[in-house]
């Protein structure tokens, strides 16, 4: 009975890993679509979100089945609860990738700006957080999860930088106000994705340690070995 439960949990982890890979790919494609003004690439992201939503529902149903049939306790219960929550965060990240893609479709109709909006760097950091958070789930590594939480500050800083840049350009009287606001939205969406990746890491920490750290993570980060 226990082996059966363990097999189901391992299968569930693999599905979450696969969902994370899909969502990570969509985030990267969406920001590439912004930078390259590629409408078709953006549309691909929007079309693939239906699949992401479907997988999210399947994973949730699988979790509910395990809870009903196996009544797990302790670490097994925490794994299922963490997966339920991480699943939800991944689906939200998928939605945010769609939001970025929709911005890309608008921006593709506009003249590109010469100003430096370093979305690739921001995207790399965000997708790395996402990947490392889910890896920490699979490898049960709380230290790696704490490091993901620490990385959120860097993304927040990049978003602030984007905001300041847009603010200064608008103050200079630049006429591309709509374009600038859409670019700022992209930055904001990436910052929200990083927040969701942090949530995932916090859920992994809960799964491993049993501690709910999400409202006071600053008490735990900074001292990670």
């Amino acid at each position: 009975m226990v082996r059966h439960l363990q097999r189901e949990i391992e299968r569930l982890k693999k599905r979450v890993l696969a969902l994370c890979a899909d969502v990570e790919k969509n985030v990267a494609m969406a920001t590439r679509a912004v930078g390259e003004q590629d409408k078709e690439l953006a549309q691909k992201v929007i079309d693939s979100d239906l699949g992401v939503d479907g997988i999210e529902v399947e994973i949730e149903e699988e979790c509910l089945k395990i809870l009903a049939l196996h009544q797990p306790v302790a670490i097994d219960l925490r794994v299922i609860i963490a997966i339920l929550k991480i699943n939800n965060d991944l689906e939200r990240i998928g939605d945010l990738a769609v939001n970025i893609a929709e911005r890309a479709i608008y921006l593709a109709t506009q003249k590109p700006l010469a100003d430096k909006f370093d979305f690739p760097t921001m995207t790399d950091k965000v997708t790395a957080m996402l990947r490392k958070g889910v890896d920490a789930l699979v490898s049960m590594d709380a230290t790696a999860a704490y490091k993901v939480c620490e990385a959120d500050d860097e993304v927040d800083e990049l978003n602030r930088h984007m905001y300041n840049l847009v603010d200064s350009l608008i103050s200079e009287g630049r006429k591309e106000g709509h374009t600038l606001m859409h670019l700022l939205s992209v930055s904001r969406h990436l910052e929200r994705i990083a927040d969701h990746a942090t949530n995932i890491a916090e859920d992994v920490i809960y799964m491993i340690t049993g501690d709910i750290v999400r409202h006071h993570i600053e008490d735990y980060t900074g001292s990670v070995q």
Binding site: M1, V2, V73, A74, I75, D76, L77, R78, G210
Partner: protein
């Protein structure tokens, strides 16, 4: 038997529960995460308490406090000493040839195995319900009235009140009020077990010991008994031995995990079943062994 001197060099289970206290040089365990509640004074306390069946130490130097008017579940694999520990509280082990104890077991601060203890009075205050329902081959009324009669109640009116009150408390009154003179053996298994609980309650105990009270019952009867335990909590101190971990999780406030006679962990049930302190506890409750 004399209380043994505490051996400080004795190895203790690794990573023992954190909330340890010491009284008279003897360390004991209080349940982790017990809410600070002045009503929850310890009702039963063991201090380095061991139980022997001849040379076999079935329960090994267990020190813990069981809190008043709470439900405490004792879990562990077969042969770990759960029922042995339970039976020590009302000295039912005295009936087993070759059994002996060391250390101390206190009930309301008095040594249960002290020379001045009247075992009959003890067993009035510490009632017991067993795995297999064991109604007497008498009427329902006489089953319940047996204990009070033994303790001196002879007035029929008083006995009738005691019988009704006890059957009400055991959630059985409505089902049997019109057939109190019928033989108790005609009741269903679940009803017989509630009758046994009513019989224990009739002598107004302080503690109710329940040794796997539902393992012989069907799911519906089990649910009725568990509901009853929930209702009785707050009035009586209930200690329940169970093999069914979901039951322990459902009905108890605190859970004790014994393994091979040793206390491994004792804590708030919610905490123990979501995030136990000891790996050994986690392995047991998740079914990785046992």
């Amino acid at each position: 038997m004399e209380a043994v001197a505490q051996d400080k060099t004795q190895a203790e289970p690794e990573g023992m529960a954190e909330k340890r206290s010491a009284v008279g040089g003897v360390e004991f365990v209080q349940p982790l995460n017990a809410e600070a509640d002045t009503d929850r004074a310890p009702h039963v306390q063991s201090r380095e308490f061991s139980i022997f069946y001849r040379d076999n130490e079935a329960v090994k130097k267990v020190s813990l406090d069981i809190l008043s008017r709470c439900v405490t579940a004792i879990i562990g694999p077969s042969g770990c000493g759960k029922s042995t520990f339970l039976r020590a509280i009302n000295r039912m082990n005295d009936l087993i040839p070759g059994s002996s104890t060391s250390g101390r077991l206190l009930f309301d601060g008095q040594d249960v195995y002290g020379k001045t203890i009247d075992v009959t009075v003890l067993r009035k205050k510490v009632g017991m319900v067993f795995q297999k329902p064991n109604p007497f081959p008498k009427s329902i009324f006489d089953n319940i009235a047996y204990g009070p009669r033994l303790h001196g109640t002879t007035n029929r009116g008083e006995l009738r009140q005691v019988v009704e009150r006890s059957l009400q408390q055991a959630a059985l009154w409505d089902e049997v009020k019109d057939r109190l003179e019928q033989n108790a053996l005609g009741l269903s298994g679940g009803q017989q077990q509630r009758l046994c609980i009513a019989r224990a309650l009739a002598v107004e105990p302080e503690i109710l010991l329940m040794d796997e009270p539902t393992s012989a019952l069907d799911p519906k009867a089990t649910a009725r008994i568990e509901d009853l335990v929930s209702e009785l909590r707050g009035t009586y101190t209930i200690i329940i031995v169970t093999h069914n971990m979901q039951q322990a999780a459902r009905v108890s406030d605190f859970t004790v995990f014994l393994y091979e006679g040793v206390l491994i962990e004792y804590g708030d049930t919610r905490q123990l079943f979501t995030n136990p302190t000891e790996k050994h506890t986690e392995d047991y409750i998740t079914g990785r062994f046992g």
